[in-house]
Amino acid sequence: MRYIEPHGHMVSRTTDDYRAMAMAGCQAVCEPAFWAGFDRSSAQGFYDYFCQLTQHEPRRASMFGLPHYTWLCINPKESEDIALAEEVLAIIPEFMESPNVLGIGEIGLNKNSRNEMTVLEKHVDLAGGNDQLILVHTPHLEDKRKGTRLILDVLKNDSRIQPERCIIDHVEEHTVKMVLDDGFWAGMTLYPETKCTANRAIDILEVYGNERIWMNSACDWGISVPLAVPQAAQEMKRRGNDAQYIDKVVYQNPIEFMSQSSRFTKPEGL
């Protein structure tokens, strides 16, 4: 089996995880910028993080033959401080030219506050002005429905933003339809407790189809499973999905979306 991990926070994972992913058939890993589990105290902290994402982490992944791609932003969990966000936004452009940067992400909302909305709009403006792909984080649990609606409205209100160049991640049963109906891509995150289980993600594919949609592990420092995508693929097989159908969801679809960036190289797919 071959697959792409389109959303993994590998800075929080061990090298053993890279090895396990490669052995499970992973062909590329893509890492959006995220919240470290604590608030960084300055823009310099983000500068170091962006260096890690664009320089160090690709080297670590390459030890296992894995191409590593990344997305840059200040995460919505740190967006309440607009002054800090503006400082971080100012340093992103110098990293956007790095060869493994696919776009701006994971941007979005956390608690759906006004300041989070302001910082989201600034990120969308940065992406729109620089022809960047966008990867969106939708809020957790009780905040997801409302936040997803607000995010879609922000994206649709910017005429430079093309929905087919945006992936709206962490969709669940109550948000996937609004995302796909508006022409965006949808990401399903496979978590043991929050977001989607593998079986629910497979159900969503059965109900809404397998176009413009992918699965990811979003593995990070929390409760998460780096091999969630190949495990879901195995469950798809158990449910009777054929190899071509599975390959489209876990391999071809991520390639189709990310190939919209000239920096993404289609893996050999061995």
């Binding site: 969990k77 608690k111 300041n115 009780e142 158990r238």
Partner: protein, 91 residues
């Protein structure tokens, strides 16, 4: 489209175990001292979606736990979500 018997063969025992876990959770809450709160109220309300006989029960359960408002809040005072909305009128 999958065969219904096949789906039951694959998932009945897993769903049965989860249902018993839910029942045990509710018993556990009942045994515990103190007041309940909005999370458990939302949980009990969401259970009704299971009896609806309508499709998209999962979506309906998620909506029961969702913030029904549409406007941004003035300020984020916490980072974490708790899984249910304190302001939801579940009556």
């Amino acid at each position: 489209m999958a065969d219904r018997k096949n789906i039951l063969d694959l998932y009945f025992l897993d769903a049965r175990a989860r249902l018993i876990d839910i029942a045990a959770f509710m018993d556990r809450v009942d045994r515990a001292d103190g007041e309940t709160d909005f999370r458990y109220d939302a949980f009990c309300e969401a259970l009704k979606a299971l009896e609806s006989g309508q499709p998209d029960r999962a979506g309906k359960v998620l909506l029961e736990f969702s913030d029904p408002s549409d406007e941004p809040i003035p300020k984020a005072t916490v980072k974490a979500a708790c899984g249910a909305c304190p302001d939801t009128n579940n009556g």
